[in-house]
């Protein structure tokens, strides 16, 4: 089984600043996938970024990038140039290559202030 831990229940950042959300996971699988999902107050869960564990290179999507440390089982999300629309719950999730269901952390509530 895979477990995902997000140790920061709430975070705040000023507009245009950079913020990093932490995530650690535990797995016995060799191949797996990691995800960051964003859930705005409207509750539609949206994929922010995904990382395939066998890839060394950290994934990047515009202002969003990850720091994937496989040995440490760490998968943090960096948001650059934060915008008010980034205010949301952020969930880290994993799934083994042999599986299908997502295992979610408890989430980090991010507030971007003007």
């Amino acid at each position: 089984a895979q477990t995902v831990t997000q140790s920061q229940p709430e975070m705040s950042v000023q507009e245009a600043e950079t913020v990093t959300l932490s995530c650690t996971y535990d797995t016995s699988e060799n191949n797996y996938y990691l995800f960051w999902y964003k859930q705005p107050p409207s509750r539609q869960m949206i994929l922010v970024i995904r990382q395939e564990a066998y890839k060394q290179q950290n994934a990047t999507e515009n202002r969003f990038s990850v720091n994937f440390q496989k040995a440490a089982k760490s998968f943090s999300l960096k948001i650059s140039d934060s915008q008010l629309g980034d205010t949301a719950m952020y969930f880290c999730a994993s799934t083994p290559n042999s599986g299908y269901a997502l295992n979610f952390g408890k989430g980090t509530s991010l507030l971007v202030t003007p």
Binding site: Q44, M45, G107
Partner: protein
């Protein structure tokens, strides 16, 4: 439609009533998932369909929970004799294939059991 839709968006039930929650996945998506999200928590896996076949129902909390996808498209999650602990947001997600592609989530149904 363009995305996953769910209905109703909000449901209030008296304890002991039966409820049915509907999910319309993205057209052509093979895989369909149901998750339960309690207040302040990350989503937790309930059940998984590949086409019309229910391949995994290990996350269903009790035999009061039943899900079906008879024609491999629309899915219904039914909860019989609802209890207060069933109060949660029920999220549906679909995925194009049976592999590890991205899961796309619907807006959820918020169930409140009084």
């Amino acid at each position: 439609g363009a995305g996953v839709s769910q209905s109703p968006r909000y449901k209030v039930a008296k304890r002991g009533q039966d409820v049915a929650l509907r999910c319309d996945p993205i057209s052509g998506h093979v895989s369909l998932f149901w998750y339960q999200q309690a207040l302040g928590q990350g989503p937790e896996f309930l059940t998984y369909f590949q086409n019309e076949a229910q391949l995994d129902k290990s996350g269903l909390p009790s035999d009061r929970f039943f899900a079906e996808r008879p024609e491999g498209s629309v899915s219904t999650l039914k909860i019989q004799r609802t209890q207060q602990e069933d109060s949660a947001v029920y999220l549906c997600a679909s995925r194009l294939t049976g592999g590890t592609d991205t899961q796309y989530f619907g807006p959820g149904t918020r169930l409140t059991v009084l």
